[in-house]
Amino acid sequence: MSDESKVSTQTVAPAEPPSQKRKPSGKEKAWQENTLRPTLAKNPERQAEFTTVSGYPIQRLYTPADLSGWDADRDLGYPGEPPYTRGIHSTMHRGRLWTMRQFAGFGAAEDTNQRFRYLLAQGQTGLSTAFDLPTLMGYDSDHPLSEGEVGKCGVAISSLADMEVLFDKIPLANVTTSMTINSPAAVIWAMYLAVAEKQGADWKKISGTLQNDILKEYIAQKEYIYPPEPSMRLVIDTFEFGVKNTPKFNTISISGYHIREAGSTAIQELAFTLRDGLEYVEWGMRRGLDVDEFVPQLSFFFNAHNDFFEEIAKYRAARRIWHKAMVERYKSRSPRSWALRFHTQTAGCSLTAQQPYNNVVRTAIQALAAVLGGTQSLHTNSLDEAWALPTEFAATIALRTQQIIAHETGVANTVDALGGSYFVETLTNEVERGAWDYIEKIDALGGMVAAIERGYPQREISEASYRYQVEVDKKEKIIVGVNDFVTKEKPLDILQIDETVAARQGDRLRKLRAERSGDEVARRLSALRKAAQGTENLMPYIFDAVKSYATLGEICDAMREVFGTYEEIAIT
């Protein structure tokens, strides 16, 4: 940890008792003396120190001596029961496989609609929508700042008209949809709900996930529009609206994925994500919602990086921390609030532009960690993602990777296969303790919003990311095909985004603005503006504006006028 991290002088007692000094058994001591020592004398180990990809030290051997004081019934428990170390369902993947949910989106709505229907035909079991940068930033496709970005990183959605095309011939009553949208999440969700309504799907029954996690935007991904306070208000508005209208919809996916991609360690990913979660819980309760009324609709999203056991320990620790926090901090009485449900995506930042076919192997191993860690749904990255958005060929291999893990490897045949491993249990304990230390440090700073405003998590991540780069540059960490085992290879065939997307979107927006009732749009936007100045829940106003075919940009602008915009202080 960097010196700058020592912002708090207040010392916090660790949540768990520190592991007692190891007391190896007589047999272990004898082994050290008679077997290990002569070996080391003759053949020293490859490295002086072994660490995870996050730089966490790993010992030679783990034995019962590492787990003294550990109690299987208390600390491990049984699947589907507190503390959920072994998973949130009693039968886990024997009962139901995880949802295979591949993130997709590019071009205009009709292009992505076609990819969605292709993926469903290939046996994918849920949809996941990637939006382009203008959409993520709340700009229409024809805004000057959208130039060059329309349809590039995801699908361009500027109005309800685009959303209707995106889900054309996809029955929202039968498919679960995840939407990776944050600052304008309330607007995009309103569009989705309007399409569902048009299709005649019952809001009480439709299911899916809105990412809607603004805190990690300030921390890591940086796609924010408004300052933290009004942004948090919008998030809590969606929680409140969801409790009343869409009880099966996850109104948030509290995301560590982007924190890790920005260069954090596994412990930082875990700690910052869960502390974000606690922040949302506190803001929801401050709104007057009962903890057990809205927390069951909160879901999580983690990264699956290269270090196999560290990742598995991270998922197991996440469940244990969430349960403890819900019960002890918020006095939750509903097991539905205690069980941390999560989506996983394999680590995009671990993929290499060099020898890209190796990425299939990396992704398979990362996906295996997510499955063994008890994930509820999974996205596997495509081999070409260090070059561009995936081709259909690459996206199909990524989906097949999950199907092979599910149906051929046997890992889904038993629950928490690694439970009881001295190594995995010790690492789970240590990762949990490391995360609690961070969580308590952020508590002492006054919570996550206050910590973000001081740049605390941003600085911690920045330090970790630089430290890792230095290790790679010095070859202390090997990346196959990049800093070792280098060969020259032929370029890949990659996806070309149709350059006519921006023009098509421009035409569509011109037509929309000409055909809709301008007066109605103006009236509803003005109602939204007025409500934003007060304290009412904004979802109904946003929904009204969406249904009049007000555009995403117009709706976000109405709120920009009231809320203002946010600029970060850049930390390098």
């Binding site: 203008p134 970005e149 990183c153 991609e261 920005a262 630089y466 990659i494 930390i571």
Partner: protein, 132 residues
């Protein structure tokens, strides 16, 4: 005798907020003895060109991961030309398909660094370029 430090502007044009690479490069160049100015996120080509003039930099390092490089790079190069900044060395890093590289070089991007490039290589190449 102390040499004049190389002045570098690290810029993130476009709407993308993925700044891990930009920040690592800013820090690595600073550690290598260069003077580094980081613009922060979401800079338009106009803002970057003006900052380059104001800060009188030798090098502009662009970080683009969003696929918008074919639009943003020519815009910036035109603006630099209009401002009489043809002698500034512009380098680019990010997610750049190989097929796009010749056109980017043609508009005057001096070097394109793909994922996996070591920071030492970038430092060395900048030193070589500026020594000329």
């Amino acid at each position: 005798m102390p040499e004049k430090k190389i002045r570098v502007l690290i810029a993130k044009p476009g709407l993308d907020g993925h700044d891990r690479g930009a920040k690592i490069i800013a820090r690595a160049l600073r550690d290598a003895g260069m003077e580094v100015i980081y613009t922060g996120l979401r800079q338009t080509p106009e803002m970057i060109a003006s900052a380059a003039v104001q800060e009188d930099v030798d090098v502009i390092g662009l970080s683009i991961l969003s696929g918008a490089h074919n639009t943003l790079c020519p815009q910036l190069m035109n603006l630099l030309h209009d401002k009489g900044m043809d002698d500034v060395t512009v380098v680019l890093g990010g997610i750049i398909p190989e097929a796009d590289i010749p056109a980017l070089k043609k508009v005057g991007i001096a070097e394109i660094f793909l994922p996996g490039t070591s920071t030492q290589d970038i430092v060395e190449i900048i030193h070589k370029r500026i020594a000329h």
